[in-house]
Subunit: 145 residues, 2 copies
């Protein structure tokens, strides 16, 4: 497994895809998303249901329904998606699994890990979901394979 859970990877890829395809206010369906980001449809559906309940993404049922992002969602930092799915532990927890991670009670890796975690966090906090669209639309980045 990578840094994030597979569930989280699907979530981020899906959110990017939704952002890219709904900038104009339209919606995109679960089937298309699943195919385009290469994820299992029904599993992804669960993930998006959860994100929808949390207000990270928006959805409407029925004809022409689907998932989309409103202005507020587009303005969220990507870290919100990560936290919603995997929790914020990755930004805070000890790399060696110790319960209390602090400078007063450091494990051998504490200080170095702090640096890595902070970098990861600030990177994911400093860019919004919407901002990725530019690169996606320019075709210089990709969401599949």
């Amino acid at each position: 497994m990578g840094i994030f859970s597979k569930t989280c990877e699907y979530a981020v890829r899906a959110v990017f895809f939704i952002a890219q395809h709904t900038a104009d206010g339209s919606r995109v369906g679960i089937k298309e998303i699943a195919v385009k980001i290469d994820s299992p449809e029904h599993f992804l559906a669960k993930i998006l249901q959860d994100l929808s309940k949390r207000g990270i993404i928006q959805s409407v049922k029925g004809p022409n329904g689907g998932f989309y992002l409103d202005a507020q969602s587009l303005g969220r930092p990507l870290s919100d998606v990560i936290e919603a799915v995997d929790g914020g532990g990755i930004f805070r927890d000890c790399g060696l699994g110790l319960k209390e991670c602090s400078s007063k009670n450091p494990c051998p890796l504490h200080h170095d890990f702090l640096d890595v975690r902070n970098r990861l966090q600030s990177m994911l906090e400093s860019i919004t979901i919407g901002q990725f669209n530019e690169d996606l639309n320019l075709g210089i980045v990709v969401l599949k394979k």
Copy 2:
């Protein structure tokens, strides 16, 4: 879960503990290790068996037996333990789970992730298992709680 699997966390904590307690050539038993690093004994036994087979740590059976580290093992970078347990994916794989992670086929996070991964890797490669002993012996770092 943190950056590493729980299995990997146990492994690293155990290796540190072994290093600290066998600098003089003695051995330390699985029961003591498990208690001191707060891990399930039999599960940890499996992990250490594997590390022993791979030559990352050393072991001898029988009375006064146990686990220890020879000079070569003490000189290994910590990244060797991580790779043995979790594989090297964490240093190489795409943060969004794409199969081919490269600058020619980058996901939206590729460049930022590259930086984070490289930092993590160089940090884990640049310090040897034995080098952690100083801090451990000085009591300024800890392996439990």
